[in-house]
Amino acid sequence: MSLGVKRSLTKESLIVGILLVGVLVFSSFASFAYAGKFDLKQYVKNADYYTSQLSDETLLGIIYSGLAVLSTENRETLSSFSNENFLDVARGTEEGKTIASSLNPEETRASEELLSVILNGQIESQNNGNYFALWGKPKPAPVAPPKCPAKLGACTPGQLACMEFELPLDVGACEYTCGPAGTWVPTLRCPTQWCNANRCM
C-alpha cells in the first residue's frame, strides 16, 4: 500500500513539474512578446479604475496627446471616432465595451497602439499627472512643445493639418491636430520646410 501511494505521488509531482516548466517557459516568451502592448477588450473591462478620477476634458486631453504621437496611418484610422466614442471606451461604459468589441482589425490595432502610447507614458500633457500616478509609473520628463506658429480657425476634433510658414526669423512647416476644443494644436515640427497634404513632407 505504501509503495502504491509513493508511486502515484511521483507521477503527480512529475505532472506538476512538467506543467510548471511549461508555464514558466511560455510566460517568459509571452511576456517578452507582449511587452508594452495592451489589449483593448481587457482594458475596457477595468477602465473605470483608471479613469474615474479624471474629468472628460482631462481624459480627452490625454487621448489627443496620444493621438498626436501615433503614426499617421493609425491616426487616420481613428479619425472616425467622435469624442463621445473615445470617452466611452476610455471610461469602459457599456457603449465603450460595444465599440471595443465591434472594431475591425485595423481599428483595433490603432486603438491598442493609442492605448499603449498613453499607458506606456510616451506622451506628455498638462493634465496627465493623475493618470501616471494611477499607473504607478514615473511621470515622463516634460517635452517642449514643437516650435510652431499658432494656426487659426475652427476645426473638427481629430482633424489633421500641415502648414508651411515664413516668419521674419523662422521658416518651416508644422503638423497640427485639432484638439477637443475645436482649435488647432501643433504636434510636430517638420524636418523640412514643406508639407504634403496634411502631413510633413
Partner: protein
C-alpha cells in the same frame, strides 16, 4: 477496541500492533501530503489559467506564484529539502509582502505599492493573490512538523543557488516594465531609485546569501527546536 488498529484487547498478544500503527500513520501522512499537494496544485492551475485569460502572462514568473507549484511538488514527493528551500526563501521574501498586504487592507497604504501592482486587476484576482501570499509560508512551516530535521546535502544547496540565478536571469530578460522578482529595480516605490545592472547583481547576490542564511541559521534551527519541544 483500539481506535487505530481496529483490534480488541484480546488480540493484542498474538498480533504486534507497532507495525500496523506505523503503517496507518504513514498512510495517513501520505494522504495528508497528497491532499495538500492537490489543493496547492489546483490553486496554482486556477490562478495561472485566470491570469492567462486576462492576458497577464508575467505574474506566473513571480516567486510567490510559481512556488505554489513548487510546494505542491514538495508535498507529492514528501521532500523535506524542497520545503526547507521554499521556507528559507519565503520567510524573508514573502513575509514582508504579507505584512504589506495587511497594512494595505487596514490603512490603504502600501510600502510595495500594491495599489499599483493590482491596478485594474479584477477583485477575484486580488483575493487569489492575497490567499497565495498568506497561506504558503505558514503552510510550509506546518509541513516541517511532519519531518525529522535533516541537513540538506551540498549538492542540493548548489542546485538551489543555480536555480535562483536562472530565475533571476529569466526575470531580468523578460523586461524592465514587468520588474519580475524586483530584478530591475527595488519593488518598494520609495526605494526604486536603486536600479541598473549593478543593482540586479547585488539583489541576486543578496537573495542567495539571505536564503542560505535563512536555511542554515533560521529554518533548520527552528525545525530542530520544534522537534525538541515535542510539538509533534
Amino acid at each position: 477496541m483500539d481506535r487505530m488498529s481496529g483490534l480488541g484487547p484480546e488480540d493484542r498478544g498474538s498480533i504486534p500492533l507497532g507495525p500496523i500503527r506505523k503503517m496507518r500513520k504513514i498512510w495517513k501522512r501520505d494522504l495528508g501530503f497528497k491532499i495538500i499537494g492537490y489543493i496547492l496544485a489546483i490553486f496554482w492551475v486556477i490562478y495561472t489559467a485566470l491570469a492567462f485569460s486576462e492576458g497577464d502572462y508575467s505574474s506566473s514568473l513571480w516567486f510567490c506564484n510559481f512556488t505554489v507549484a513548487f510546494l505542491a511538488i514538495a508535498c507529492f514527493q514528501k521532500s523535506l529539502k524542497k520545503i526547507y528551500f521554499f521556507s528559507a526563501m519565503g520567510i524573508f521574501f514573502q513575509t514582508p509582502w504579507i505584512l504589506d498586504w495587511a497594512n494595505f487592507l487596514i490603512s490603504g497604504q502600501s510600502f510595495f505599492g500594491l495599489n499599483d501592482f493590482y491596478a485594474g486587476q479584477p477583485l477575484y484576482f486580488m483575493i487569489l493573490t492575497f490567499l497565495r501570499h498568506t497561506v504558503t509560508v505558514p503552510l510550509s512551516i506546518v509541513l516541517l512538523f511532519f519531518f525529522k530535521p535533516e541537513r540538506p546535502d551540498k549538492k542540493s544547496v548548489i542546485y538551489l543557488v543555480i536555480s535562483i540565478i536562472i530565475i533571476m536571469v529569466l526575470s531580468y530578460f523578460v523586461g524592465r516594465e514587468y520588474n519580475i522578482n524586483c530584478s530591475h529595480y527595488f519593488c518598494a516605490p520609495v526605494l526604486n531609485s536603486a536600479a541598473g545592472l549593478f543593482y540586479t547583481f547585488s539583489w541576486t547576490a543578496f537573495i542567495i546569501l539571505l536564503t542560505l542564511f535563512s536555511l542554515y541559521f533560521v529554518i533548520i534551527p527552528f525545525h530542530r527546536v520544534i522537534r525538541r519541544i515535542k510539538l509533534v
